[in-house]
Symmetry: C2
Subunit: 233 residues, 2 copies
DNA sequence: ATTATCTATAGATCTATAGATAATGC
DNA sequence: ATTATCTATAGATCTATAGATAATGC
């Protein structure tokens, strides 16, 4: 079995990298299924085919391992979305449109989960759980995603110059909800729709999400404009 | 201290009910903060001021306790929303509007969390965590909420007779996301908006949510109508 | 005479550490 | 000579149960 193509001898750096990836992949899957507290180090070790004590060699403790899992892909997706927003703006002289900004932001992310393989889908499910964890979850999101989110919100302000800042932030609140619900892939819509829709059909969701949300923004901003008119006249 | 107004002697049924409520309240708060796996029976017992073994007297195991916590309020909110939808339809001869249906459904629920006290807000946070749990979470939602959700979806179909069923289900998928994100109250929007918005300001959210989502539905249904026209002409 | 609550404890599991062994690195 | 991995185990914690005690119920 010692074919020339696959040398059994690996450099230590390679070995380290390989094992770490195995561990992080296993942890990512399990944490995505049951959350931080629903997974034991032993669970991760078994799935990763390493001994539990090795986890302590690589990570200070369980939370540090969890943070490493989250951080591994957080930077990648944040950067992709940031670049997509820049590219969207680079190609135009007109102010941005709400749907354009949302497409750059959301579709770019959905593409990643559609084409990035199982790892990215597991990460998505993990992200959904983190997003709903009040104690430490929001903090993780703040740390990794604030810059790109604020960049997007800045562009939405340009797209909706007459809309109060408050409404735009609430609109973003709704955007997160829709995205996070999608990333969770709980299978609930499958049951409700009796199989007509499947919660892992990101392609169907991509076809609707940005437009749905763009119309939503118009709705609450129109509302505000109307209210202001009512008060002024 | 044996004033006539507050007899120390309680009937067993009263005692049972009181203790159960203490236990369920404590469990509700803790599960809402850290999820099913992040809470131990000892945690619940300490907060409820009872001995851990008493939890085993009242519940078969931890999951049964969790289910009892969830079930206690699930029926109440489902029924309220169902009644609100009926009342909305009772008062009209025209077909329903999307925003009308969503207001009956969502505003009724938000009112409950706004006026129902701390217990209901803790339950909301718990619900948000359950909604993102792939293994057992979706199942709990199916059990308790399918009837009222399907009733609402039926009304949305009446409001949007030309919209494909598929789009309406996806629209509902987005509705859940927005509601669940709101119920979680993670404080993330507070940080992002630098205090301009607060995630526990359900009143501000109520003023925007139904309209935002109603416009979203119009958006994806218009889209579909346009697409059909394109294909037909 | 039944029901509610507490005491005591078994048995399993979980995290974490110390120290041994087996690889790669120079 | 350093780094990666495993063995063995301590100490804490967690769920669950058996059985005692203290209330209410007739």
């Amino acid at each position: 079995m010692t074919t020339k193509g696959k040398p059994l001898r690996r450099t230590k750096a390679e070995q380290r990298e390989g094992t770490l990836a195995q561990i992080l992949d296993a942890a990512e899957y399990l944490f995505g299924q049951r959350g931080l507290y629903g997974v034991t180090l032993k669970d991760v070790a078994s799935l990763a085919n390493v001994h539990t004590s090795l986890l302590h060699y690589y990570f200070a403790d369980k939370k540090a391992m969890f943070d490493a899992v989250f951080a591994r892909r957080a930077g990648v997706t944040a950067e992709r979305r940031s670049v997509a927003l820049d590219e969207y703006m680079a190609g135009r002289t007109d102010p941005p449109t709400v749907e354009g900004v949302l497409r750059a932001y959301l579709d770019t992310d959905l593409d990643l989960y559609m084409t990035g393989g199982e790892g990215w889908r597991n990460y998505a499910a993990l992200g959904a759980q983190v997003a709903m964890a009040p104690e430490w979850g929001a903090k993780l999101f703040d740390t990794h995603f604030d810059p790109v989110v604020l960049k997007m919100i800045g562009l939405l302000k340009q797209a909706l110059p007459d809309c109060p800042e408050e409404d735009i932030f609430w609109g973003y609140h709704f955007v997160t909800g829709v995205l996070v619900q999608t990333l969770a892939r709980t299978g609930r819509i499958d049951v409700l729709s009796d199989g007509l829709c499947r919660s892992d059909d990101f392609s169907a969701i991509k076809a609707r999400m940005a437009r749905f949300l763009a119309f939503g923004f118009e709705g609450i901003c129109q509302d505000r404009a109307a209210e202001r008119n009512r008060l002024t006249n």
